[in-house]
Amino acid sequence: MPVFFGIIATTIILSGLGVILSKRPVYSILSLIICLYAMGALYLTLHAEFLAIVHLIVYAGAIMVLFLFVIMLMNLDRPEHLNRSRLLQWSALAVGISLVLVIGSTLYTPSGPWVVAPMGSVHAIGRLLFSKFIVPFELSAVLFLAAIVGVVITAKVPHPEGDTE
């Protein structure tokens, strides 16, 4: 198992570096996709199969396609389009460091974030979602619905003649 972890961790780090070091946005996105794949593999080694697959479907399969769409349709794939202002770079550094601190701090909590039981299975997650976390779960569903309706309303251009065809 340590061998697998080593391979996966190396892939994650290298592709993560690829995201920030690539000159062109499309290659950044591709690196990010590889990174997400490797993270899915990491979940698999922790016996969280459901989490791994949903991670791939949602992030690698849907959200990254959206990123690619935006880059391609807006013709943004040129290095000169990138906003490389000093302010952005410093704030990105600050955000990155604080993220590392937050994630790193969980390593030192007494209980530990260690996976003790296979809790990423469909049954375990389903039970948790529909018992302990039922209210947040349903509320987030309403939130998503509101977001969808909002997008439809903002994207709909009113026709002067009134017909939609």
Partner: protein, 343 residues
Amino acid sequence: MTHSFFLFSIEKLILASIVFGITLVVAMYSTLAERKFAAFFQDRLGPDRAGPFGMFQPLADGLKFFFKEEFIPAKADKFLFILGPSIAMVMSCMSGAVIPWGDRLTLFGHSVSLQIADINIGVLYIFAVVSLGVYGVILGGWASNNKFALLSAIRASSQMISYELAMGLSLIALVMTTGTLSLGSIVHQQVGFHWNVFFQPIGFLVFMICSFAETNRTPFDLPECETELVGGYHTEYSSMKLGFYLFAEYINMFVASAVMATLYFGGYQIPGISHLGLSPNLVTLLGSGFLFVKIFGFIFLFMWVRWTVPRFRYDQLMRLGWNVLLPISMINLIVTGAILVLR
């Protein structure tokens, strides 16, 4: 531990190679079958020069692809241009890993399962692979630096994403009736004539239409609509890279047929074979054969539709996906849930 792990790896490796080989051969001869059926539907003879009944035609086609000139457009992104067809090919082959090709086979005192990986989320795995297959098309179309290819890539990806929704919802209804996401258990439940298609007829219909759309087959082959988009997302492709794109479509068709046969038509289960008293190995082999009969039936259906039904217009396609299939599968989902609760 390490010894058994080694044996296990060897066993799975052999199994994966066999499945891979069968997939390629079936896809290869699907191309011939397609041309033969097309000829039949149009009252022609079809390819009959290479070998008896044109049996060697796929080999000749493959050789032709290899010997054609390799051309990469000057303004194309070379790396992504090569990556596109590779992704399309790899993703189309990956689904075969979770499909149960047969029951257990006892060889040299070893019980071998004919399913490469019976993961407990097999249904979702297939869904993930399908949703990742979009990348091959998008990257290829964009990297060609050709407006027709880009337009077609955008068409293809929006079509695939739109139909994934209805497909997913019809799958959820199926998962609700079976109560499991493992393809192995789903097949085990369908002993005799307990085929899921009888419990989920509407779900199956939606699923089948969506798999036509996901494999970019007529009447949903708008991404390669010649009259509007030259050659679609593979306009700029030549030689074996074009071959990969075309071949991936046939592999997708084979895999989609296998998935439909597994999920809705009992997979490798032969109704009533347990009463005949045959040896378990023979039953397993017959079952695998029966699965392939079902798969070939679906492949024939794919071709039958292609040479019978004309292509949709793009707005019709989107309307069918969002205004017809999605509501139908939602209603199916609600009705299934209500029946399950009331029962």
